[in-house]
Chain length 333, copies 2
C-alpha cells in the first residue's frame, strides 16, 4: 500500500558512501567530514529521504515514543494535562501513543501490554487511581514512568502534582471562615488514594483545626462526571450542608446546576469551591470559585521529567510540587 519511497541504502548509493555514513549524518554524529556531510545531506534532500522510525527502533531499541495512559480524554482536567504533555513531547521529538484506559473495568492491564508491545520508551500516567494489576505489571518491566497530576499509592515513581492536602485545607478554611458549620466534601471514590489520603485529609484537617466535627454524612462519593454531581443535589441538601468543596470541575458544575435548579441560591444560600481550575470553571454561571493549579504545566513538567529519565539525566526533584492558589469567583461570597 505504502510506497516505502527511499531507504538509507538508496541515499548511500546515490551519494557514493556507505549506509553507516548516511546514518551518521542523519543522526548528527560529529565524526563526519564536513564535505561528506554536505554531499550526503544534498542527496537526502534531493531524494526526500525520511528515516524509517520502525527500523530505527528495532536496531537501536529506542522508539522515541511514550505511552500516555489516561482514563478519559473528554475530561477537561485530563485533556489539559495531555496538552501540556504533548507540547513538550513534540519539543523533544517524542511521539505520544494514546492509551485510553477506563478505570472502571479491567482493561488497564491490556492497554499497558499493548503499550509495552509497541516498545514505548516510557510512560506517563494520568488518572485518579492506578489499579493494582497495572502497578504490578509496570513494576515487573521497570519502564520509566512519570505520574502527572496523579498520585500513586507507592510513590516510588517520579510525579508532578500540587500539594492537594494543603490546597484542600486552605479552601476548606475559607468556608469555615464564612461561618459554615456543615461543609460537605464531594469526592470521587474514596478508594482512590488521591481523594482519601490527600484531598479528604486536607478537608478534615481544616475542620479539626476549627473544632468542627467530622461527620461522615457530609462526605459524598461520585464518579467524577457532571451527571453524578447533578444527581447528588438532593442528598446534599438532605445533609443540611451549607457549603461544599468538590474534587473535580465536572462534578462541581453538575452540583452547581443541580442546586440552582432546586431553587438554592449560590453563593447566597450555599457556597461551592471546586479544585481543578479547568476551562469549565469559567463557563458555569455563577463561575466556580476554585483552587487553582497549573494544569498545563503539570503535564509539561511531567513530560520534561520523562525526557530526562530517558536521557539518563538526573532529576533535580523526584516528586515535584507546583504552586497552587485560589481564585475567588461567583460561587463563594
Amino acid at each position: 500500500m505504502e510506497k516505502q519511497a527511499v531507504t538509507i541504502y538508496d541515499v548511500a548509493r546515490e551519494a557514493g558512501v556507505s549506509m553507516a555514513t548516511v546514518s551518521r549524518v542523519v543522526n548528527g554524529n560529529a565524526n563526519v567530514k564536513p564535505a561528506t556531510k554536505e554531499k550526503v545531506q544534498a542527496v537526502i534532500d534531493k531524494l526526500n529521504y525520511r528515516p524509517n522510525a520502525i527500523a530505527r527502533g528495532l536496531a537501536s531499541r529506542k522508539t522515541t515514543t511514550v505511552g500516555l495512559v489516561v482514563p478519559d480524554i473528554t475530561n477537561q482536567y485530563f485533556a489539559e494535562l495531555a496538552r501540556g504533555i504533548d507540547d513538550v513531547a513534540k519539543m523533544y521529538n517524542y511521539q505520544i501513543i494514546l492509551a485510553g484506559a477506563d478505570e472502571s473495568n479491567q482493561e488497564g492491564a491490556e492497554v499497558l501490554d499493548n503499550l509495552l508491545g509497541k516498545q514505548v520508551d516510557g510512560i506517563i500516567f494520568i488518572g485518579n487511581q492506578l489499579s493494582d494489576k497495572v502497578r504490578e505489571r509496570l513494576a515487573s518491566v521497570d519502564m520509566p514512568t512519570v505520574f502527572a497530576g496523579s498520585i500513586d499509592r507507592q510513590g516510588t515513581d517520579p510525579s508532578v502534582n500540587i500539594n492537594y492536602q494543603q490546597a484542600f485545607k486552605e479552601a476548606t478554611d475559607i468556608l469555615v471562615k464564612h461561618g459554615h458549620q456543615r461543609i460537605a466534601f464531594i469526592s470521587g471514590s474514596l478508594n482512590h488514594v488521591i481523594n482519601q489520603e490527600h484531598k479528604l485529609a486536607g478537608y478534615q484537617q481544616a475542620l479539626v483545626d476549627a473544632g468542627l466535627p467530622l461527620d461522615k454524612a457530609l462526605v459524598f462519593q461520585g464518579d467524577y462526571s457532571y451527571q453524578s454531581g447533578y444527581a447528588m443535589t438532593n442528598q446534599l441538601r438532605a445533609s443540611k450542608a451549607t457549603a461544599a468543596i468538590v474534587v473535580n470541575d465536572e462534578m462541581a458544575a453538575g452540583l452547581l446546576n443541580g442546586l440552582t435548579d432546586s431553587g438554592v441560591q449560590v453563593p447566597a444560600d450555599f457556597e461551592v469551591i471546586t479544585s481543578n481550575s479547568s476551562k469549565l470553571t469559567e463557563m458555569t454561571r455563577p463561575q466556580l470559585s476554585t483552587i487553582t493549579q497549573p494544569i498545563y504545566d503539570i503535564g509539561a513538567v511531567s513530560m520534561r521529567a520523562l525526557t530526562k529519565l530517558l536521557a539518563h539525566e538526573p532529576l533535580d526533584d523526584d516528586q515535584v510540587t507546583l504552586a497552587h492558589g485560589f481564585s475567588k469567583r461567583g460561587t463563594t461570597r
Copy 2:
C-alpha cells in the same frame, strides 16, 4: 533499560519448533496442527511471551498504528471525537499516535512527517481546516485517510460528518420563526471551508428563504475559543442582532456569558443556538440550545471506516452523513 524479556526464538527453542511455527500460532494462522499449537501456546504462556510490535512492523510493513491529527485536544468537540476513535481503535487492535497540530502555525506538515516516519498505517484527521501544505504532503504519499467531523476542500478522502448546511439552515429557521430580523452568524475563520461553504451557506439559505437580507455586519469570525466568544459581545450588541447561531460550543459559552454579564437577558432579549452538543452545552446557564450531532459516533464510524480501508474491504459509503437534530434548551424561547 528495558529488559527485552523473551523473544520468538526463546519460545521456539523451548517448544521444540521453528520460529515460523511460533509466528503462525501467535498470528492465529490456521495451518498448525492443534497439538503443536497447544504446545506452543503453553510455552508462550509460561514464558509470558509478548511479540515485539516494532519487529513485527518492520517485517510485515504494517504497524497497526494510526495517526490522529487534532488541533487541540482540550476542545470538547475534538476530545469527544477522539474518544470515539480511540474506543474503536482499541476494538480492532490499533494504537493511536496523537499528533497535536496547532492550525494557526505551520507545524502541521512537520507533525505529519513524524507520523509518516513512524510508519502509521493510516491517518484520521480532525480539525477545522486542512492546510494546503499538509494536503499536498498527504496526497504525495497516498496514505489511507479519513476525515472525522471535518471537511476537506477536495472531498476525495472518506469522511464522516453531519449535513452541516442543512443543520444550520434548520437552526436558523427556528430563529426566523421566532421573528428575528437580525440574526448573527458566529463563525471561526471564514477561510475554513466547513464554515464558509457549509455552515454559513445553511444560515444564508434560511435567510434568503425567509426574504431576509444578507448583512455582512452580522457575520463574526472568532478563533473557536471561549475567550473569543466572550470578547465578541460588544460588537455583537452593536450590530443590533437579536439572535445568534454559533459554530462551536466554546465560543457559544463565551458569548452567552458575555451577554449575560452585559445585562442582556438570554433568551428573553437574545436567543443563542450552538452546534456541537458537546458536554459543555449542559454546563452553562441557561443551558445552550443546540444542533445535536452524534460526536462520539462520528469518531467511532470514522475509525471503523479506516479499519476497513486498511483491510482492503469495500466502504459502503465514502462520504458518510450521520443524522443530526436539534435540542431546545434554555437559550431559545
